[in-house]
Symmetry: C2
Subunit: 340 residues, 2 copies
């Protein structure tokens, strides 16, 4: 059997609730994402409630460009929502996806994106169980925006929250900082480096499962996406009214990313990641947690980068490589628009 | 305490993951939607799993204009997702919301929309437990798009699905057809009618709860949104490989909407609804179901409009008011773009 004809582009009829929309759903969405729940074609996906507490999350994805080294908006929207669930310690189970398509967007590109979503979902063991498609006129969107929502289950006894940060806890990261932001910006600006810098986009729930099994006392997990490590640590510091003391020499940054950041005027600590996490745990558990992280393919470059302090003004401070101390602040403006 | 300063507009920093985004979340989203789950500020909302089977659904909303008689994108996105859950017979519990904002969108309008979401959610007894905000450059979006996802619970024993349609079942609608589409189009085109036509946008789960309690043998429920009654009945007919025979004289259409449709060249049966449902049930239950629907404020104009047939080509046919028969088809193109 040959596939459907995907030589055309999205037009307004694809959002009209009529026959053209049904064909789009059949030829692209169901062809790639098919599963018994989605295939029923009902208004919502019906599933057996898994045992445990539920977590639910959503992310809208407006990344530009849509395709970049190491991923595309399709894989990114799956990984992004899985990671939000994973940061609560959850096992992700189900996703929904809402597509906002711009008139004129090539069907072949949409097909490629949905195929990538399907691969990412399958690799992560999650199913897309319900979806929606809207079309906006040319110039009222930008190719495709995808909003995913996810449902996962947390084991009893596990309570991860930014509010759990306490002085004395160790701060760990699972790997190098800034890869995603630099990869996307390089592609957007058509920059070429000697080695291609690839996004770290990845689903982190497997790493998280190993971590919570080894160290049930993990207090906080977060993925440092928009705004990078700096924004995420400041968020945690604000939420729990604590300070942080980092050691710059311990923060992993790949030499290629460091060089690209230098050239682009970026700080890797403000630059987005899509396959890394930050974890806070009691100091006495830090060594074991680090070993567990390093034993997982997505945590090989994990490091202990500092500790939580009782510093009353909730600042994130860093001992620099030159022996000084600087404040690691949120960026005031937007360093990199549309990075996810 | 005076409220936050909302005299400005959305700029790219509001999507950057930094301080401006945190302030937007605090001043608009949390101010209106606050609840203990959302207020934790984690990457996902954590809830106790309610007993029963779960349903999950999503809808992206790109309606234009954003404000229309009878509602706005804020109330619509809450009602739309609740209704998708309700059509599975579910009690809705939780929503997530992903916002895609266009640079330059007035903060005061965003505030009005989020306030409207909050009122709709509160009235319906659901909580928004997680959200996300992205910003795109001017000309890459259109004010605001909102994608909601919802989680609900279905009682054991209840199995509603389009695939359950069987010859002999009665077809009921809960009220007049076409109100939403005509209301939005009138506003978009600046048309004035003697009486203002208002959208029927409403949350239908209360009506549904009464219906399934009175008539547990309901086989199918659907809300006839985009594409109207015609598209929804054709979808059901295709899914279950059945035909349908309608009686035009029984299909409720308000005189104002009928007159406006005449003027605008629309067919009320192809025109969107946002607070109406279609139900299929065994013929012997139809009278009781009709009584139950009419006893609910959102079902006062309910009617039995036809029956499912074994007609092998899966056509939806209608006895017209003039005594002839016509086929009620999907519309081929898009009658009304961006109606939801």
């Amino acid at each position: 059997m040959t596939g459907p004809d995907l030589s055309g582009s999205v037009d307004m009829t694809h959002g009209g609730g009529g026959r053209a929309m049904m064909e789009l759903i059949r030829d692209i969405f169901l062809r790639h994402l098919s599963n018994p729940i989605l295939d029923r074609g009902d208004d919502a996906g019906l599933v057996e409630a898994p045992a445990g507490r539920l977590v639910m999350s959503t992310d809208s994805h407006v990344i530009s460009p849509l395709f970049f080294p190491g991923g595309d908006i399709g894989s990114l929207c799956v990984h992004g929502t899985i990671n939000d669930l994973a940061m609560m310690g959850a096992q992700p189970h189900y996703l929904t996806a809402g597509f906002i398509l711009e008139e004129g967007f090539p069907l072949a590109d949409l097909d490629r994106i949905v195929a990538s979503m399907a691969r990412a979902a399958s690799a992560a063991g999650v199913q897309v169980i319900s979806g929606d498609t809207k079309v906006v006129e040319r110039g009222k969107g930008d190719g495709v925006f995808i909003t995913t929502a996810g449902l996962g289950v947390v084991k009893d006894g596990l309570n991860l929250s930014a509010a759990n940060a306490r002085p004395g806890q160790a701060i760990l990261v699972s790997g190098t900082m800034g890869d995603h932001g630099v990869a996307v910006l390089s592609k957007r600006e058509n920059l070429e480096f000697e080695t291609e810098i690839r996004s770290d986009s990845a689903a982190l729930h497997g790493l998280v499962a190993d971590m919570v099994a080894a160290t049930p006392r993990i207090a906080v997990m977060r993925d440092p996406t928009r705004g990078g490590l700096a924004a995420t640590l400041n968020e945690i510091a604000s939420a729990a009214a604590v300070g942080m003391a980092l050691d710059e020499a311990q923060i992993p940054v790949s030499p290629d990313v460091a060089a690209a950041c230098e050239l682009l005027g970026l700080d890797p600590l403000n630059t987005a990641n899509e396959g890394k996490l930050i974890a806070l745990c009691p100091a006495e558990d830090a060594g074991r947690l680090l070993d567990t992280m390093r034993a997982h393919p997505l945590g090989r470059a994990a490091a202990i980068i500092g500790e939580v302090t009782g510093e009353p003004s909730c600042l994130v401070q860093m001992k620099t490589a030159f022996g000084g101390t600087r404040i690691v602040d949120w960026i005031a403006g937007e360093q990199l628009p549309r990075i996810c």
